[in-house]
Amino acid sequence: MLPERWSRLLTAYVDGELTARESRMVAQLLQRSAEARQLLQKLQSDSDRLKALSRRRSERDLSVDVLQALAEQPLPPVVVLPARVRLKSTPGWIQWAVAAAVLLAAGAAVYLAWSSAPPARDNPPLVKRKVLPDKSVANVPVFPPDPPAVNPVPQVEPVPPEPVALAKEPAEPEPVLDLPDPKFEVFLEVHDPKQTLVLSLRELDGDHPKRLLQDLPRFPAYRAELSCADPAVALERLHAAFKERGVRLVIDQAAQERLLRQLRTNYVVYAENVTAEEVEQLLLSALGPAASHKLRADVREDPLARIILNGLQPADRDELSKLLGIDPARLQPTKPKAPLGVDVRKPLSEQTVDQLAKALKNKQAERLAIVLPYNPVRPRPAASKEVKQFLDNRQEPRPGTVQMLLVLRGSKS
């Protein structure tokens, strides 16, 4: 078999894009290698067959449809980046006034964001705050309701019936300037390749990954990065998988809006108090053979879909804390005391009623996971009801549980 560097030269030859030096190398190669000559002949033939494909033409004049669409549905005004030429034509004092106004607005926004941020909580509240129903877009279901489960997981708290999904808005053309930018992301880095598992999602079809985490060290917190064509589809799969395990996904409002508008977005999902086994089960049931046929079809069609698993690094924790708007120390995994958070080595009398109540509350509280937009937009945690709800609902870590961060990234981004 020809070495890759030679086959690369041959394909570039077929492309007609060789330098003079490369052309000489190809000529020498063809002189001495029958295999190279044979491959080149086949590649050239394939290229000719592609070139010979008939030219297709639309059966109808598309200009009629386009003009009709323009007439029926006036498009929103064009968004153009501020042009320097225009600024030059404005008087100087206007530019200064605009700059001052922007600075004032930014300062006010920062002040409001800080002043409305949830106070640091060393001790989470005993009573979970009641979240009032909201008719805004924040409560619009972004995923269709799931069919009833055959063996539903018993819920500790009654779950209100899910509202019927609203019809999705017609897909808007995606703004080109709004695409995810890799430079924007911190989660891109893999810190230790030796402690990292990279798996194509197609491999999940086979018997190989019965245990995803078995080849990895036991981490107190895991980071899973899913690269796939459409993070929104992956999020839908995860939504169902989390739900099956009694974990409710709380989706930040900005993320909901992007899901509803079908805008290309990378997302972050963060959960606590899940066991390593649950992490495996979540990923496998969301993406593996157990996933529904419809969803698996999507994965099979996406050759770039892969998952990267490793431990959560300090830099990841810092980034996550920024997304949640909290101090990174609050995300440090703490050592669980004992089941229910009660220190069984001490007599009960030494423990406060509050601690016991908190422990019992933790046992019964609903487990939440938060979904945040990551790229090209980020959440505004101080203004996000969903982030607040998630933080208010945080519980003491139970023994054997881990933190789980999942980054859903579009492979085209």
């Binding site: 086959s7 067959r49 033409r57 598309l62 200009s63 009629v64 007439a71 999507d298």
Partner: protein
């Protein structure tokens, strides 16, 4: 960029939608052919081309004129095709699975596939088309741009917004993968 395109774009910017209609007529056939090979069927190709033209109209003020209009239009169409493909993926995959069981169905009702057309040539075309559709979108895109459109690496890099080295590398893998697929389909 041709002076006709320049004139029509200027008219569009003044709000002349008829001028945009003329732009569509000038470029629709070429764009449709490329998109058809990308998305694999006539219906989707029409949707994507229409959507691409609407997107182009919407962002016409952002077109600086430093690239050719058609290159710019390509870029929009490729982005539109990718997102359209995502939305349609499940349906497409089910259709693809169904068609793999038997002979591929006629691709559309256009002139080339009507009864009476040289069968051998039609079969060859279907085979190549099917192989093309089984490639990943990235590989399909570079082959379409190179072999069907005869674009240079540099222009392809501009359209697909990736480095030239990536284009060359993708074409290398795409050609080898296409070879394998054709061998398998012909076996």
């Amino acid at each position: 960029m041709s002076t006709d395109d320049q004139r029509l774009i200027a008219a569009c910017r003044q709000g002349d939608t008829a001028a945009f209609g003329e732009l569509v007529r000038r470029h629709q056939d070429r764009l449709y052919n490329v998109v058809y090979r990308l998305v694999g069927n006539a219906e989707d190709a029409q949707d994507v081309v229409q959507e691409a033209f609407l997107s182009a109209y919407q962002s016409l003020d952002g077109f600086k004129g430093d690239a050719r209009f058609f290159t710019w239009l390509y870029r929009i169409a490729f982005n539109t095709a990718v997102s359209h493909k995502r939305r349609q993926r499940v349906i497409v995959s089910l259709d693809a699975n169904r068609s793999r069981g038997g002979l591929p169905e006629p691709l559309d009702c256009s002139e080339e596939t009507r009864p009476g057309y040289a069968l051998e040539q039609a079969d060859q075309e279907r085979l190549v088309h099917e192989a093309l559709q089984r490639l990943s979108p990235e590989h399909r895109a570079v082959l379409v741009l190179k072999d069907l459109e005869g674009q240079k690496y540099e222009t392809m890099a501009e359209i697909l917004q990736v480095p030239i080295g990536t284009i060359r590398s993708r074409l290398h893998r795409a050609r080898l993968e296409l070879r394998e697929l054709l061998e398998r389909l012909e076996a």
